[in-house]
């Protein structure tokens, strides 16, 4: 579920923080910059694990802060494909089920990845697994699932030329308003890091079914 990733970055420390020891100041700056943020193709960064190398602090023209080249390791949340995780069902729709974990929300089970024999009941907005018993997948139930795919979406702002050409645009408000008017249930703002998971094999599904 968690990995250690090595990062190399130029860290800026303001003069007001010079009273702190170098490691503390670096740690604070790095945590402030990376905690709870997604780095493309790496994962959701959680916190600093340790600092490997610290360069000399250099001071630029016109700016009193020290710039230090640092190599450090961060704890990153990045489940590997095929890993089994536990989360809570946050909502159900015809398309599938949204699952959340305490610190990560963008987990989705498309309807193809559910057990065979699962039916969506619109009146209750819930999925039911029809076997000998009727097993309901209710919200706020603990559910075990297997990671199938991870999707990283680039969130950098798009230039004006690209607005009309692309559909799923992140940055531009006009395009988003247009999509809303069309009344689609499409998600306009793609999250930077999302997981597509499945709930199909032995041991998957509500934790209470198997334990």
């Amino acid at each position: 579920m968690f990995v250690l990733s090595k990062f190399s970055d130029l860290v800026r420390i303001e003069p007001s923080k010079f009273s702190k020891s170098t490691e503390e100041a670096l740690e604070d700056e790095i945590n402030a910059k990376y905690a709870n943020k997604v780095v493309q193709d790496v994962g959701l960064c959680l916190c600093l694990f340790d600092i490997l190398e610290v360069g000399d602090g250099l001071i630029r023209h016109g700016d009193g802060s020290a710039y230090i080249n640092t190599v450090f390791r961060l704890i990153v949340f990045r489940p590997f494909v095929g890993e089994v995780l536990v989360g809570w069902i946050s909502s159900c729709s015809e398309e599938g089920i949204r699952v959340r974990m305490d610190f990560f929300d963008d987990i989705f089970i498309p309807k193809e990845n559910l057990f065979e024999g699962c039916i969506f009941v619109p009146s209750e907005q819930a999925w039911v697994w029809r076997t000998e018993h009727d097993l309901y997948l209710d919200t706020n139930e603990k559910i075990r699932f297997k990671v199938e795919q991870e999707i990283f979406t680039d969130q950098s702002p798009q230039g004006p030329k690209n607005i009309l050409a692309e559909e799923g645009n992140n940055g531009d408000e006009n395009a988003q308003q247009q999509m809303l008017l069309q009344g689609g249930s499409v998600q306009n703002i793609a999250p930077p890091y999302s997981l597509v998971v499945s709930c199909q094999t032995y041991g998957m599904g509500l934790v209470t079914w198997w334990d």
């Binding site: 579920m1 968690f2 990995v3 250690l4 990733s5 090595k6 702190k20 503390e24 604070d28 945590n31 402030a32 905690a35 709870n36 943020k37 959680l46 916190c47 694990f49 704890i75 990045r78 590997f80 095929g82 890993e83 089994v84 536990v86 974990m101 305490d102 610190f103 603990k142 075990r144 297997k146 094999t201 032995y202 041991g203 998957m204 934790v207 209470t208 198997w210 334990d211």
Partner: protein, 128 residues
């Protein structure tokens, strides 16, 4: 680039950070800056407390790994056993590929026993 961490190690690290924060509480820490960190640490702790990792100790983990090394398991599979602590053979199936072909029924049962011995998920009662 990557080194896999078990849930237990992450939990340990969070405790470590909190301890260090308490020690240097006298020094002035700018509040806005650490907001991100506080949020993520709180959420992580809440999540990990509900997993088997909350009750594991280094000795238990070491002993478990020693015993389980008798079987041929991938590193990722051992890690999953640690994190998920399956309580039954069916759960083992989902964690270990081709469980039937690689291990006999007895060996699988033994693995489940080892898990409950060293990685006891006593938290079950608290969850319900």
């Amino acid at each position: 680039r990557d080194k896999l961490l078990s849930n237990y190690e992450v939990l340990e690290h969070i405790h470590d950070i909190k301890r260090r924060q308490k020690r240097s509480a006298s020094k002035h820490r700018s509040i806005q800056r650490t907001e991100n960190l506080e949020t993520i640490l709180l959420e992580l702790q809440g999540y990990l407390k509900g997993t088997p990792a909350a009750k594991q100790t280094p000795e238990n983990i070491r002993k478990f790994l020693q015993e389980i090394s008798a079987y041929e398991l991938e590193k990722a599979e051992k890690l999953q056993l640690l994190n998920v602590a399956p309580g039954s053979e069916a759960a083992l199936h989902s964690l270990i590929e081709e469980c039937d072909q690689r291990f006999t029924g007895e060996e699988r049962q033994h693995m489940v026993t080892l898990v409950s011995q060293f990685l006891k998920p006593e938290i079950q009662s608290q969850q319900t």
